[in-house]
Amino acid sequence: MAHYDLTTPLSPETVRMLQAGDSVTLSGIIYTARDAAHKRLVELVEAGKPLPFEVEGAVIYFVGPTPAPPGHAVGAAGPTTSYRMDAYSPTLIRLGLRGMIGKGKRGEAVVEAMRRYGAVYFGAIGGAGALISQCIRQSEVIAYPDLGAEAIHKFTVERMPLTVVIDSEGRNLYQEGRRTYLAGRKD
């Protein structure tokens, strides 16, 4: 399992190089979206309208941060459970989305789109919202301010620690990590 320091946007070659279990630090611009924002993005795609950010090479972080207290760019900002975005992710992956950050399982249609178009699913530590917020240097709402915490934020992140959970070949750390642990357990 390798370690990579990556910067967004992600190239197709970078994505194909990453394997389940690799650790990554991610820097650059990422976009936030969760349930309600994903619904709107996919409605725009279906209506043939432009999206509020360039999807090609982009990374979406499934998060709804707490409001920024004075002196902070953002409040707590850990990942939300990803399966709720499964209905929408394949459409965005088809348009060139190369990375998703979340936690928890993904459906087969998402993994199939990741294989076909080349995308990777990263895990951030669920419940570590205060720790992760330290990597977020700037935050700006770029779409859907009416959604509050669910608005699309443009985050500038610096060395955000992530783990490759599902790679572009469909290998899955949730299955492999558990299997390896159970195979090597002493008790």
Binding site: A130, A149, Y181
Partner: protein
């Protein structure tokens, strides 16, 4: 009769919402540190270290971005008279705590037809019990939905018995896998009616993580379930490891001759609750 103004309750609820989301209870901290010490799988150790860093760092910023629905529990002494509107006082406290405390507002007006944010995290999910005495005990337990969504209830048959309860709890944790941010706390409610089993499970999540069920049968069941869950190998964040659950608590009530309700309420490692007595 002792008199308490509803506004006093507003102030306490507001403070507890803010504090519960910033400071992890001592028993939860102790249990996570003990789990880290007992874990020997390297990826799991690294994640537990970061989880410990996170709760130590929280304060100005909440522990987790899902600052939850505000579950509020009031134990009101029978010899207390509350002046003013109690429900309104609790909701005002939640609104104040979530707004002034820079907490996330995560509540929508209607689950199906009007999913529009209420803007102040109200209404509270309020449970009121009347108890002897002249005090009011107020507990705020913010509940995140990553773990709430992985909770289940089953109306088992009496013939399913102990084995049925164990199987249902394990199946629930297995199905949840990495989704509820393991390591988790598992609250189990058995007996009563459909609704009471769920409430028992929710209240089980507020027991101290390192306590012992006073009933030896249930103490043994809790220990066995914890060992079985931690043999699944799901591990912290689902990347493999020993520490899938930090604690299992089972609460029971008498039930009907025809029934064995079993509710499993899952909480994440950010198991939050704070209590104050008026």
């Amino acid at each position: 009769m002792r008199e308490i103004h509803a506004e006093q309750i507003t102030e306490v609820v507001a403070r507890l919402c803010s504090e519960a989301n910033r400071q992890l209870p001592d028993d939860v901290r102790r249990t996570i540190r003990a789990a880290r010490a007992a874990e020997d799988w390297q990826p799991a150790c690294e994640i537990l270290d970061r989880i410990i860093d996170n709760f130590e760092l929280a304060g100005e910023v909440p522990i987790c971005q899902d600052t939850g629905m505000a579950c509020v529990f009031l134990e009101i002494g029978q010899e207390v008279h509350i002046t003013g509107d109690l429900h309104e006082a609790v909701n005002r406290g939640v609104a104040k705590g979530y707004t002034e405390g820079y907490l996330r507002k995560s509540v929508v007006r209607d689950p199906i037809f009007d999913r529009v944010n209420t803007g102040d995290n109200t209404p509270a999910m309020l449970t009121i019990d009347l108890v002897p005495g002249d005090r009011v005990t107020i507990t705020v337990a913010p509940k995140g939905f990553g773990s709430e969504n992985m909770s289940r209830i089953a109306m088992l048959r009496p013939s399913d018995g102990l084995a049925g309860v164990k199987a249902f709890v394990l199946e629930t944790v297995e199905q949840a896998g990495p989704n509820p941010c393991p390591p988790i706390m598992v609250g189990v409610g058995v007996g009563g009616t459909f609704d009471k089993a769920a409430l028992l499970a929710k209240k089980a999540l507020m027991r101290p993580m390192d306590d012992q069920n006073p009933d030896p049968n249930y103490a043994a069941l809790e220990a066995e379930l914890l060992a079985s869950i931690n043999a699944l190998g799901i591990g912290p964040q689902g990347f493999g490891g020993r520490t899938t659950a930090l604690a299992v608590k089972v609460n029971a009530l008498p039930t009907h001759i025809a029934g064995l309700p079993c509710a499993v309420n899952i909480n994440c490692h950010v198991t939050r609750h704070k209590t104050e007595v008026l």
